[in-house]
């Protein structure tokens, strides 16, 4: 075996070993890499009352109730729901059916007391006219596609439910991939 061959195999094996080690480490610490819990995660791994954590999901349709500075809404992953109370200024993108990440504590009544609220944007980009025409023609598929595999459901499971237009629907009206 020549020196070059030796170095080639050495580096190849080294990279494989490194990849394996990294994969093991990431699998082991996977839970702590979650930026937020979904309501389903919360069901599986209950958090102690009063412990601070982040809760993420969609703002349930029709659940937003503003009373002065305080706002009540429900965070859902379309499987489980958690009621949330928040006092303060909401981000611009906060609206029903949109993703949201809140940070705070669960109080004994099961309501999540949020200290701050971040809006989570989804991966869909389109002009207003396209969004309007999708809604008009009924191609705006609410309740399917999207969120099940984009971090709102239980990790790895396919809840198959979401509240955004599917990419297929976008391509149907605008030509899609050039």
């Amino acid at each position: 075996m020549t020196r070059k061959k030796q170095r080639l195999y050495f580096i190849g094996l080294g990279m494989l070993a490194l990849a394996g080690a990294t994969a093991l480490v990431l699998t082991a610490i996977s839970d702590s890499l979650l930026y937020f819990y979904s309501p389903s995660d919360l069901e599986e791994r209950p958090v102690a009352d009063g412990q601070r954590f982040r809760l993420g999901g969609l703002v349930a349709e029709g659940s937003v109730d503003k009373a002065g500075d305080t706002v009540h809404f429900v965070v859902t992953d379309l499987v489980h729901e958690v009621p949330v109370t928040y006092t303060g200024i909401l981000p611009d993108l906060f609206r029903e059916g949109q993703g949201v990440v809140t940070e705070g504590r669960l109080n004994p009544g099961g309501t999540f007391q949020a200290a701050n609220v971040l809006a989570k944007h989804d991966e869909n980009y389109m002009p207003k006219e396209v969004a309007d025409s999708l809604k008009e023609t009924g191609l705006w598929k609410e309740g399917e596609g999207g969120y099940g595999d984009t971090g709102y459901g239980e990790t790895g499971s396919d809840t198959g439910a979401g509240l955004t237009a599917t990419p297929g629907a976008i391509q149907a009206t605008s030509g899609g991939y050039p």
């Binding site: 070059k4 170095r7 080639l8 580096i11 080294g14 990279m15 490194l18 990849a19 990294t22 990431l26 996977s30 890499l33 979650l34 930026y35 937020f36 819990y37 979904s38 993420g56 909401l90 981000p91 611009d92 993108l93 990440v101 701050n116 609220v117 971040l118 809006a119 989570k120 944007h121 989804d122 991966e123 869909n124 980009y125 389109m126 002009p127 207003k128 006219e129 396209v130 969004a131 309007d132 999207g146 595999d149 984009t150 971090g151 709102y152 990790t155 990419p167 297929g168 976008i170 391509q171 605008s174 030509g175 899609g176 991939y177 050039p178």
Partner: protein, 241 residues
């Protein structure tokens, strides 16, 4: 591969490519910027803020692409000891670092109005910050030794080891819950292309402009390094003569 390791042959090829890559860069930047900043439509939710995407997303792609190119060049240098491969890796690092930095800054500027925060420590943002540190570490290490060859070897090993971060960045949004949204352009994945054509064209044009910029600066940088090596060799010869 060995044919291109010859600096003279490399210079001939580089000089032939340079005018073309420069022309593509200028044309793509002209068309891409006009589309991205003026002619493309505002988004249905983000309105004009969407224009940040035309710089942010191609910068992120560049950060990953340039690092991968740097890792491949480093492997070629370690295995076959091609000096030109070392030059390619050395000249890639500042370009990749600059685009990673642009990606992080434009992301923060977008995050404040859209998410309501400049920065969060989620898996995507954190792994991208680590990429910037890997670039900076590579540059520091490559120039840390008086013996250029030792610096080149140490930095090449760092570039290869750091490459494990690239798939982590790419798939962080799929593997873990993150505040960052999943990929909008993901032809292999289930979500496919989630960007309207009117926005996809300026995005790809900008990506082409960034890639052409990389090729142009890389070739110019390598040409400069080869000239510098010649000067060093001549000075050595003069000092010894």
């Amino acid at each position: 591969m060995h044919r291109y390791a010859n600096p003279t042959r490399f210079l001939r090829i580089a000089n032939a490519i340079l005018p073309w890559s420069t022309a593509v860069m200028v044309a793509a930047f002209g068309v891409g910027l006009a589309y991205a900043l003026v002619f493309s439509p505002p988004d249905y939710q983000q309105s004009e803020t969407v224009r940040i995407m035309y710089v942010h997303v191609p910068s992120a792609w560049m950060g990953l692409f340039v690092y991968t190119a740097m890792a491949v060049a480093s492997a070629m240098f370690l295995i076959w000891r091609h000096p030109v491969a070392d030059l390619a890796a050395r000249c890639s690092a500042p370009v990749g670092a600059a685009f990673t930095f642009i990606c992080l800054v434009t992301g923060a500027l977008w995050g404040k109005p859209m998410w309501g925060t400049w920065w969060v420590w989620d898996a995507r943002l954190t792994s991208m910050l680590i990429l910037l540190f890997l670039y900076l570490g590579y540059m520091a290490l490559a120039n840390a030794f008086d013996d250029r060859q030792r610096g080149a070897k140490a930095a090449a090993v760092l570039a290869l080891v750091g490459w494990v971060n690239i798939p982590i960045i790419k798939f962080s949004v799929d593997w873990w819950n993150t505040l960052h949204q999943p990929a909008s352009v993901n032809p292999m994945g289930e979500s496919g292309i989630a960007i309207d054509t009117a926005m996809l064209i300026p995005l790809f044009t900008m990506a082409l402009a960034f890639k052409a910029y990389y090729v142009t600066t890389l070739l110019l940088g390598m040409r400069r390094e080869i000239a510098a090596a010649k000067v060093r060799a001549l000075r050595m010869a003069a000092a010894q003569g």
